[in-house]
Amino acid sequence: MKKVNAKQLSLALAAVVSASALAGCGSGASSSSSSSSSAAESTTAAQTSAVAGIDGFKAFDKQVEIQIPVYDRNVDGLPPVDDNYWTKWIQSQFGDKYNIKVTYVAIPRTDEVTKMNMLIAAGESPDIVFHYDYPQAVAYADQGALQEIDMEQFKQIAPTYYKNMEDYGILPYCKLNGKDMFVMARRPTAYNWVTLIRQDWIDAVGMEMPKNYSEYTALLDAWIAKGLCQYPLTMSLPTTGYVAGNYPFRPYPPNEEDTALYSDLSIASLTWEPTYKMLKRQNAEYNKGYYSKEYYLDKDGSQAKADFIAGKTGVYANYLTANSDYVSGLLQNNPNAKLAVLSPYATLEDGQVPAGRAYWPFGMILGFSSQSSADETKAVEMLLEWMSQKDNLFTLQNGYEGKNYTLDSNGLPVMQDYQGEERMNYNSNKDMFCLVIEGKDYGSDEANLQVQKTTYAPKGYEYLIDDSYKFYKETEKYLTTDYLFSKSIASVAEYKETLLSKWQEYSVKLITCKPDEFDALYKQFSKDYLDSGYQTILDERKAAYEESKK
């Protein structure tokens, strides 16, 4: 008997290989090699008309199938993200009209890059390849997964979308190494990322909303002394390299070169001074009993949420949505619980400013798959333009009047808790409309605030969005964007995953160690982190930064 031992990888690879070998037999799969032949045919199909935009759309002679990715956030109690009322609505309103079959492909939000890479490797790439983080979008381009975008054609087919990119200053970001590689959805400001604090506990110890770090720690110590909580703060294992907590420790005004080198969503800046100071503070907090001793076992934040709901802890940050389960759950357990938005000043020591990350003007970054045929790309551009039309977007974002929403006196939609057939997917269909815009925009800050109150806040908690808005406006001037390289930093994609798992390990060990061991450990981990690729990234960024300044 001859037996070759079981290779760990063979299954995965076999699946990939055979999938790509069989892809040609699949009836529905978007064929990856037909671009040349269909390019010739496409001259007879849509978009030969001289009229730009949606008025010039014609149905394709032969049905074109496009595959559109959609995030699956694994939210209980909602219909499947790739097959629900709204995906069918897109098909019936848009697809059937132009002989396009729109297929949605579910991408697990927490494992999106792996999933997307698998699809690309198997030759089954969706026609849009997207990601929120610019470095990852660049990584897709570097892999050859994206085609260069013919901006003249895009402008012809999708003038509304194009104009948005022009008006909001997005166009310059679409170029990579001098070529048009991306189109991007615009991003109106949202005020629903909030850090909540238990106002009833603040009252219980007779204190007020803290205005600086020493007041904050005094409050937390009082909670512990009074036995209100098991541990006052929530913390879980970091899942990205985004180190949000180091902003207050950064020098203000920020030094552009430092920002370019260290400030980033994908690679944690372990060796940067502000990160050192942040970790040092967190280490002190951990040793004072502010966090759960097991926080690092919480890989997806679910334990943190459960602790907040159970009243074990009193501070919790998350996106607020109209059906936030952590608000309803908390009230079920503690009917007397009162919530407030934690002041952004509470974490600041003397001389620090409430700095933070400012968004770029764009939201979702879209690339067109290099496996798409010319017709498929056109169909995708038509979909983007169609979704950018005011009426279509309004319905996709708000549903139907009298069911999903009612109109207020100013003609703005007020979202209702509607559970019928036409109910919205997660967060008002955000994962569908994110292709063209990241939120709802009705022209002015005031209007948007009104709409966000009913879109993002549970009933009776509209004041949270108000407070969040107020704090945002106060601190807006201290927000800085990350530096955006117009050239791809190849080492980022190569070392990203390795450095993330090292960041998870090292940050946890640094936070949970004894205070007197901190500095020795930090030194040791920093060296290893630099050796594992961070130094290469820093060198490449520095060279690119200096080149861009010439």
Binding site: M1, K2, K3, V4, N5, A6, K7, Q8, L9, S10, L11, A12, L13, A14, V16, V17, S18, A21, V113, T114, N117, M118, I120, A121, G123, S125, A139, Q143, G144, A145, L146, L237, S292, K293, E294, Y296, L297, S370, Q371, A493, E494, K496, E497, T498, S501, Q504, E505, V508, K509, D531, S532
Partner: protein
């Protein structure tokens, strides 16, 4: 004419034809597993060439650049790879030392039970864990063994002890990791040995009894020599897995406190190869594992033959 053709068939083909006619049902049964092996093992062989390419999925096999052993050179210089390799070898060796004898001991113990019903019940209970996937096993043990909120540690602290970091301190983790695997696999492992024991001629036991052998004497002089061939065969097959590492098992017992030990080849492949989309690297490491496994199997087979055993090949 037909007759003339018949006689010109080679004797080999003729006998093959005959046995096919006689045992076609058995061959039919064989078809499915053979197809499995061909599709999932051999059909992926052409894909192995991506270990020698700078493979970009979007460019395909032909579009990617050939770089020869470049990927391998890079891997062997990578400190993380060396760490993963070291952990893999150490843990597989520990698994072998601790895990391999357990089913043999257990099979002999079960064999000595004469109360039939008790034997059946014990066997079933021992098999059960094998049918739980690692994800389930790991989540149960992780919950039970959590340092602060796990049932076991609550019990220990309430009895006045210190909480033990079974799965969150690397040395404790190493022991728990291996012991849990023994618990999960030993019952299932007894099946082959029990079958081998059944095959031992009963007269040997009678003869041993007449010669005055007690229970242990019979185990030592009859049962163990009787299943020696099986033990050697299984040992060789296990040695072939020395380079392997179960991704499912490692990944489900993962937490940042034990990365020093838990970081083994399958995790390395997953992190650097699949998550980062570097398929060349993943394939190269997989190929390396397979080659070392093959060499180990052949070497141990030769060694077994030197000792006068049958071996595998």
């Amino acid at each position: 004419m037909a007759n003339g053709k018949q006689t010109s068939l080679s004797p080999f083909l003729k006998s093959w034809k005959n046995s096919l006619k006689r045992d076609w049902q058995l061959y039919l049964l064989l078809l499915l597993p053979v197809a499995m092996v061909i599709i999932f093992k051999y059909a992926s062989y052409p894909g192995l060439r991506i270990a020698f390419l700078d493979y970009k999925p979007a460019l395909g096999y032909d579009g990617s650049k050939f770089i020869g052993f470049g990927t391998f050179q890079k891997i062997f210089k990578d400190a993380d790879f060396l760490k993963a390799l070291k952990n893999t070898v150490i843990f597989n060796f520990a698994d072998l030392i601790v895990g391999f004898p357990m089913p043999i001991i257990l099979a002999i113990l079960l064999n000595e039970i004469h109360f039939k019903r008790f034997k059946k019940v014990s066997q079933t209970i021992l098999y059960l864990p094998h049918f739980l996937s690692w994800v389930i096993v790991a989540s149960i043990f992780t919950q039970l063994l959590k340092p602060e909120t796990g049932l076991v540690n609550i019990l220990i602290t309430n009895l006045g002890g210190q909480s033990v970091h079974f799965l969150t301190e690397k040395y404790h983790w190493a022991v728990s990791y291996i012991v849990i695997a023994v618990w999960q696999g030993m019952g299932w492992g007894t099946i082959i040995y029990l079958a081998a024991i059944t095959g031992i001629n009963g007269e040997l036991y009678e003869a041993a009894t007449i010669d005055g052998a007690g229970r242990f004497g019979k185990i030592w002089h009859v049962t163990l020599p009787g299943i020696k061939g099986t033990i050697v065969t299984l040992l060789i097959m296990n040695l072939g897995r020395m380079m392997g590492s179960s991704f499912e098992r490692l990944y489900s017992f993962d937490n940042v406190m034990v990365t020093d030990f838990q970081y083994q080849l399958s995790i390395y492949i997953y992190e650097k190869g699949l998550q980062a989309g570097n398929f060349s690297m993943a394939t190269a490491v997989g190929l390396f594992q397979s080659l070392v496994g093959l060499i180990l199997v052949i070497a141990s087979d030769r060694f077994a033959k030197l000792l006068g055993e049958d071996g595998l090949m």
